[in-house]
């Protein structure tokens, strides 16, 4: 069953000639056709492109040409990643049918490594949401329980990985949009240090927070994908010009001697019982493996949510000004320009996007800037300083990724309820740190729980090391969502 092979295994078998890339892709496409009608992970499937890419890999192998580390590995992309020639919508009606004339850097790097792009996955419109319910196009179900959301905004990417509809996928994370769906869907998700992965070709939500990262079924797979997409890009002025370490080399190091910090603020509030239990087991397992567990404090944690919900909407209100119906995308014709702008944007954006644009516009108005946007950025500094202080006594922080397991469709009745679901994941983006969610068991109901690891800037290596230790001790192993095996 090539569909459940890991990234590492798929690449190896293709390289060894045990199977052709074409076979792998074809099987995956068949499976997608069978499964995804109900699951709803994909928005767009590029069957022809995938087959062509797979054939090219097979040709290269036969010709004895050098193959990339991901040669033939079928990958899915969140639909806010710009793909040349493949419709890119960011889950919004305003971009429906838009075919980009260029390719994003992360996608380019994947292709260069030999990855085969299967298609584009569902998301909350422009990444604004935590359940993928805010997609303009479709619902994506949680493979573990079809009455529940897969999380969001990278819900399609998480569900596709969890249900074996790709070997791995890329998502984007602005306030938890990789880690939260990874936790809800029982997969590994990494948000790298801000600046590690180029944002060129990432449909912007909040520029100072957005970051691309992998979702995969194993920590090792996530490390390999991360390895491929990291690196300095002269097309992104915020991209960091620093060496990329060998991520996979760190995986086997184990937890011995690792100082794991538990920020007390993340364990003090309302935590779902089974989430708390899973975390307790995770902490105990790490201690058993020789990790040193220390309690730390991040005293400004309570300010992260308000700061985030000022910064992100403010930047979004600006980033989304380009959707004006003039050069591309939806246009609602009107006799005068002002009406055309307003009607186009009124018809093209969904309610959540409108709310955030309104909120962001409010916060940036003259006379309000200092009290809101600037204040929120000052709070970012306080939050960053909290982390700096905490990392003086530990190497990595461990928290639950989410206060609860995946919730049911429609459960978050008000926008505020939905925002509160991101409470553990936001600080990482505000501070620019690397973060990761790794499955740490199932609840008695069979829902996955995610453990979140937060690291020092650029210290993905330690996250991966700790993540691998958690995976080995309390991970899901071969347990797969029912009905998808």
């Amino acid at each position: 069953m090539s569909e459940w092979w890991s990234v590492v295994e798929t690449a190896r078998r293709i390289a060894d000639g045990e199977v052709t890339a074409f076979r792998v892709v074809e099987d995956m496409l068949v499976r997608i056709t069978r499964v995804d009608r109900d699951l709803g992970a994909y928005l767009e499937i590029d069957g022809d492109g995938a087959r062509t890419a797979a054939n090219e890999i097979d040709r290269k192998r036969k010709a004895g040409e050098k193959l990339g580390p991901l040669a033939g590995v079928p990958i899915a992309l969140k639909d806010n990643l710009v793909t040349k020639g493949i419709v890119t919508t960011a889950g919004s009606k305003i971009l429906a049918g838009w075919v980009p004339p260029y390719e994003g850097t992360a996608v380019e790097k994947l292709r260069a490594a030999g990855a085969v792009i299967l298609g584009k996955t569902n998301l909350d419109e422009f990444g604004m949401g935590s359940s993928t319910e805010r997609s303009a196009f479709k619902k994506t179900k949680n493979p573990w329980d079809s009455s529940r959301v897969p999380g969001g905004s990278s819900g399609g990417s998480a569900a596709a990985v969890a249900a074996g509809l790709c070997a791995a996928s890329l998502g984007t994370d602005t306030g938890g949009s990789i880690r939260q769906p990874a936790a809800f869907s029982g997969v590994v998700g990494i948000k790298p240090t801000y600046g590690r992965v180029s944002r060129w070709g990432v449909v912007a939500f909040a520029s100072s927070l957005d970051q691309v990262g992998p979702l995969a079924r194993t920590v090792g797979d996530a490390a390999l994908i991360l390895q491929t997409i990291c690196g300095h890009d002269p097309r992104d002025a915020t991209s960091l010009d620093v060496p990329v370490p060998d991520f996979s080399a760190a995986l086997a190091a184990g937890a011995r001697g690792l100082r794991v910090g538990l920020p007390k603020e993340y364990f003090a509030g309302e935590l779902e019982e089974h989430v708390r239990a899973a975390l307790d087991r995770t902490i105990a397992a790490l201690r058993d493996q020789g990790a040193e567990i220390v309690e730390v404090s991040l005293p400004h944690t309570h300010l992260a949510l308000p700061a985030y919900y000022i910064v992100a909407p403010a930047e979004a209100s600006s980033n989304l000004a380009r959707y004006d119906g003039i050069r591309y995308g939806l246009r609602v014709e009107a006799p005068d320009l002002l009406t055309q702008y307003s009607k186009t944007r009124g018809a093209g954006f969904g309610p959540e996007v409108k709310r955030r644009i309104m909120l962001g516009t409010y916060a940036l108005r003259s006379g309000y800037y200092d009290a809101y946007y600037k204040k929120a950025q000052q709070i970012r500094t306080l939050i960053k300083r909290d982390f700096d202080a905490a990392f003086e006594s530990c190497d990595v922080l461990l928290t639950p990724t989410t206060p609860t397991t995946a919730f049911r469709f429609g459960a978050k009745a008000t926008p505020l309820d939905m925002y509160l679901a991101d409470v553990f994941t936001l600080s990482c983006n505000l501070a620019g740190l690397p973060g990761m969610s790794v499955p740490c068991g199932l609840t008695p109901e069979g829902l996955p729980v995610g453990a979140q690891l937060l690291g020092k800037p650029l210290d993905e290596v330690t996250l991966l090391r700790a993540g691998a230790a958690i995976e080995a001790a309390v991970g899901l192993g071969d347990r797969r969502p029912g009905g998808f095996a």
Partner: protein, 488 residues
Amino acid sequence: MSRSVPQMLEDWEPVIGLEVHVQLATRTKAFSPSAVHFGEPPNSLTDPLVLGMPGTLPVFNKLALELALKLGVATSSKIRARSRFARKQYFYPDLPKGYQISQYDEPLCEHGHLDVLVGTTVKRVRLTRIHLEEDAGKNTHVGAVSHVDLNRAGVPLVEVVSEPELSSAEEAAEFMRSLHRLVRWLEISEADMEKGQLRCDANVSVRLRGEDRLGQRTELKNINSFRFVQNAVEHEIARQLRIVDDGGRIERETRLWDADAGQSAPMRSKEEANDYRYFPDPDLPPLVVDGSTMGTILHALPELPLPRFERYQTAGIARDDARTLISDRAMADYFDAACLAHPAGHAGHGGRTIANWMLTELLGALNTDGKDIRESPMAAETLSALVVLVEDGTISGKIGKEIFAESYKTGEAPLAIIDRRDVRQISDEPALWEIIDNVVKASPKQAEAYAAGKDGLFGFFVGAVMKATNSRANPVMTTDLLKKRLGR
């Protein structure tokens, strides 16, 4: 009857500040490698970033920064080691991203000044700031629709903002001329106003003389020639004077100058309900100017027009000539090169004579050919050599003009032409005496008449000497010797 403008100006003082946009002479746009050209087919100079497509990111043009720094240094501005780009947000069809990347609270340059030649004096006008930004595309209005061409979108600009301390339309126009000259001098912009490479907005107000506070201002937009600046500001001053002199109040408004109609009209639109919501562009890190960049800029900075203007005058060049010489850096450079080749340099006679020859003969010839000083077929050293040949008496000035014309046309060295044509001036006294003696002997009657007091005949003898020498006789010596030979 309201009073005349000069009457009103006795009581009221106009105050003008200018905001001038200058297109920087780069090959690519401010934030993307899309090419910059004028007059290309519509929407042919774009890329995903220029089109404001999702996922694109700005990276600033190094050359644009260097060009802006040159202007900053040349205007003695304070250069910010770490400036910031901000987004200025408004919706307009020629603005693809829905915001313009500009600089707001931390501009690249502040507190500089521009020296402006007004009439015969130099007025120092303070500059509030010089900041970097990107240009918008172009909208053309065609009946019920407008057409958008984004070729110009994203072209790098500097916006030069003056303090409100210009006090007449003439000064405003001279400010523009000085800035125009300076940016061309520094080669940071071609500043072709017909191509919109230099454009200006004017803030105009009037106040009672002696008053410290500024009056309510209006903003004039869309001014794209020196003449329009003068006309638009003059017109606006007069309009405001008529209102305030009648006891009326000036409304804060933006007015558009219509050059064809020769008048301005207020802009009226719902679109004006704007709040730019500036905030630091999160896609762009601070713009850092390091020491080595500054060093390179400072090192390469040429001598500026106004210091040269002063230097030429000190060297004895007439004010008007000096002004012409600094109108264009190539002109001043030509002049300096010619002086350098002259044994006396700029000082005294040398500079003055070279300026004379350059401004009359050379510019005249270039003008006839429709050529620029840069395209002069005659090198500065050649002109200098010719001037020396006239000054040292090798040839007369009259012959000099002929030699100039030929050398200009053929490129032959003046001395070679002189020798070939055998037109060296006869300044040898015995030789000239012999010629004069022969001329006087050949016309005894005229010599007698002259001796008897018929002064008018002196010219006859000069002419005869020139005729006998093919105009080669040294005119000063000829006069001198003739007087001796004729007895008075």
